[in-house]
Amino acid sequence: MSTTVMPNSWNINTKPHKFCPGCGHGHVLRALGEAIDDIDIQDRTVFGCDIGCSLLAWDFFNIDSIQTHHGRTTPVMVGIVRANPSLIGIAYMGDGGGYAIGAQHLVNSANRNDKILVVLVNNTNYGMTGGQMAPTTLPGQVTETTPYGRDALETGAPTQGPELVAAITGENAYVARGTVSNLRQLKKYFKKALENVQEGNGFSFVEVLATCPTNWRTNAKDTWKFLEENMASYFKVGEYKVPPTKREG
Amino acid sequence: MNKSVKIAIAGEGGQGVQSIADIIAEAGNEEGLEALYIPNFGIEQRGGVSVAYVQIAEKLIGSPKFEKGDVVVALSKRAVDRIIPYVGSNTIFVYDNSLIYIPEVSDEVVGLQSYETVAPEAQTNGFSLKEGEHNHYLIPHYADKVIGVPATDIAKKELHPRVFNIVILGAVIEAAGILSQESVKNAMENNLGSKFEKNPQLRQLNIDALQKGIQKIKEALVRS
């Protein structure tokens, strides 16, 4: 995978993008853009981004896009594809939108087996609002609202999203957790997830472990270390549910 | 003069209060009149007292609820309590006297003797009932007319217990005096037609019940 050529589905006029240096979003959107290119669905895809850092992607793609908030990107996409089932809806959001304020939408959309893809970027904090605790903040992790480190006994353990979604979806759902430290794998997950939606088969959900050096207050080396060691040890990367049609071998 | 009538009916859930009200309103509509029916749809919807309000008039009806009814009907003791506020000095008050024992005399002390059961506290409250006040077992004697219709007994002995509410329907129609029997029968047909199809005897039974109710009110109004 080349890192110099932009995917066709990207809008070159809005690049360089607006994310912080070292942010994981750009990598996620690259893998997503390439997956869209590979299965050639740019003309049928509708992209929705949420509140928080994900909203900076509102003009990212050469794809009709809308920005909303509070994890409501999911019902907006559901509304669109229910009204026009020929469209492929992608709801793009952070861990706050998907697992906290809009958790009911993720849970119920998954349960209804809506034909949409939800991409949830997990960077263990609320980035745009200044680095507060997220549902995914690791035990002991320092954030603006857990200045002495997250106490799991007080504030709960990090949300295991794909595990949750996999448990409540039907067998035609596709559920995976990828990471920006393995973009080849991530792109593969996105392709399977999008194909699952394209085929009208079922709900697709991909959580992506991503970096946030600005709020982690880490240098390049420590950023990567936090992602690959701390996060990956808690959040297991891999496929959690693969519909029968997508199973290999 | 514009014709108009305001009707309030109260009974126990399952007594068919809402379906009578519905038929009356539909009959009004059948005649090309303005008709407005609103059920009491509060918590009472599940068990408890069911109340229905119907208004029929020649022109657009005002508020769906009103203060005093022209015809007010109570089909149980609890319903009397609930509906008394709607009884005014021009009201014809109809109750099922096979279910509710209400003294026929308005003398306060003598009247109390005919109560089915009287708790001491009801006695002390009940001696001087004025308009606006009410008591569980007291008749609203300030009404224009108070007419007991033994609908339950008539239905049980002469027809079928199921048509009890149609006897009441007949009584209301006659007391209201605004609708033709024809349109009421049409509305009954619309409401109950499918049941009549299954059981043709039911049609005649219902028509008889309607007539009994009408007759009871006719007699009572002549007597007074």
Binding site: Q67, T68, G79, A83 | G62, P64
Partner: protein, 367 residues
């Protein structure tokens, strides 16, 4: 596929059923709904009618989702609607704010119930504040307060048309009484009556490859700078103000020679109308002013009337929610105002008559 209402016909039904038929007559495509009393039967009737006429329905997980999914339906180019009440309307303010900001013509029928919070499932006029100015916005909405079943039908059709014509969210503001009561009305096919149905258009998922055959559509809802937002909002507000006179509607009765004007809206105005007639018979010169649109408020019309008759009696089943709109509209005029506020409780003509008669002439009629 069956065609909805072709010929005019007189029907006798509940208000909730009327709204479902009105949406069908307005050629609505899809409803997204969540149960709450007293609007439930709108969904019940819609779900029964929908398959016969090729329409869709989705029961969502809450009113937030119902509102946002309705927005999605609109973006896909379909006439989309929802219905709600009370605490559901509270949740709806979030999607409605977005619809306001992004000029999304969503349509919502609201059957007001008692408030605050859960309160009663029965009736009120306490959702006026919320429906006209709720959410974090400027109230760029169209709100029709209906009084009869005929109006529920007429204004459901109009709400769809004016939402799509002006691209502001539109509301049919009914109440629990209207929802549950039955009365006659005439149903019709609007096109047979010469009402031109405004065609919906697709916002997202248009023809062609974005970036190649056409520019991509970016619907933005967040701005980085104050000035950026201001530049977006001001033309929107100016446009709303400009089209307001076209949208505003009111009804007035006997105001020309009246000493006192009763101001009420929705179903309460029926009691006011009956009171007006009764009082006139007794030689008391009373008029009635009823705003049909609560947003935009028919300010010009009420100011004109109150210039010659400065005595008003505001009657509403809320603690001054209509009064606030009226006072704002009449700002600067010398007004003598009386009020009957009965939050969450129905009002009869008898009460209005009693109130007016209980007052000394000089109390209600300032000369």
């Amino acid at each position: 596929m069956e065609k909805p209402i072709q010929e005019e016909k007189r029907v006798f039904m509940t208000g909730n059923e009327v709204v479902a038929w009105g949406a069908l007559a307005a050629q609505a495509d899809i409803m997204y709904g969540y149960p709450i009393t007293p609007q439930n039967e709108i969904m019940h009737y819609w779900t029964r009618l929908a398959p016969k006429y090729g329409k869709s329905f989705l029961q969502t997980e809450d009113e937030l989702s119902a509102g946002f999914a309705t927005i999605g339906g609109v973006l896909a180019g379909k006439r989309s609607f929802s219905a709600t009440a009370g605490p559901g309307n509270t949740l709806f303010q979030e999607p409605i704010s977005m619809a306001e900001m992004m000029r999304i013509p969503m349509v919502v029928a609201i059957q007001q119930r008692g408030g605050p919070s859960t309160a009663t499932v029965i009736y009120s006029q306490q959702e006026v504040n919320m429906t006209t100015y709720g959410g974090n916005g400027e109230g760029l909405r169209i709100v029709y307060s209906t009084a009869t079943h005929q109006e529920l039908f007429d204004y459901t059709i109009k709400a769809f048309n004016n939402a799509w014509k002006y691209r502001f969210p539109a509301f049919i503001l009914g109440d629990g009484y209207q929802a549950k009561m039955r009365e006659p009305l005439i149903m019709y096919n609007p096109e047979e009556k010469g009402i031109e149905m405004v065609k919906p258009d697709v916002s997202l998922g248009k023809e062609g490859v974005p970036g190649k055959d056409r520019d991509p559509v970016y619907l933005r809802n967040a701005y980085s700078m104050e000035e950026e937002l201001f530049e977006v909002l001001m033309p929107m507000i100016e446009e709303y103000n400009k089209v307001s006179p076209e949208i505003e509607e009111h009804f007035s009765l006997g105001c020309e020679d009246a000493d006192l004007i009763i101001v009420s809206h929705g179903i309460v105005s029926r009691a006011a109308m009956a009171a007006e007639e009764e009082l006139r018979k007794e030689g008391i010169k009373v008029g009635l002013f009823r705003p049909i649109t609560l947003r935009p408020f028919p300010e010009g019309a009420i100011r004109e009337i109150c210039k010659s008759t400065p005595n008003i009696l505001i009657v509403e089943s809320a603690n001054g929610q209509l009064a606030r709109l009226v006072k704002e509209a009449l700002f600067g005029l010398p007004i003598n105002m009386q009020a009957i506020f009965k939050p969450g409780v129905g009002i009869t003509s008898e009460e209005i008559i009693k109130f007016i008669k209980s007052k000394k002439t000089e109390e209600i009629i300032a000369k």
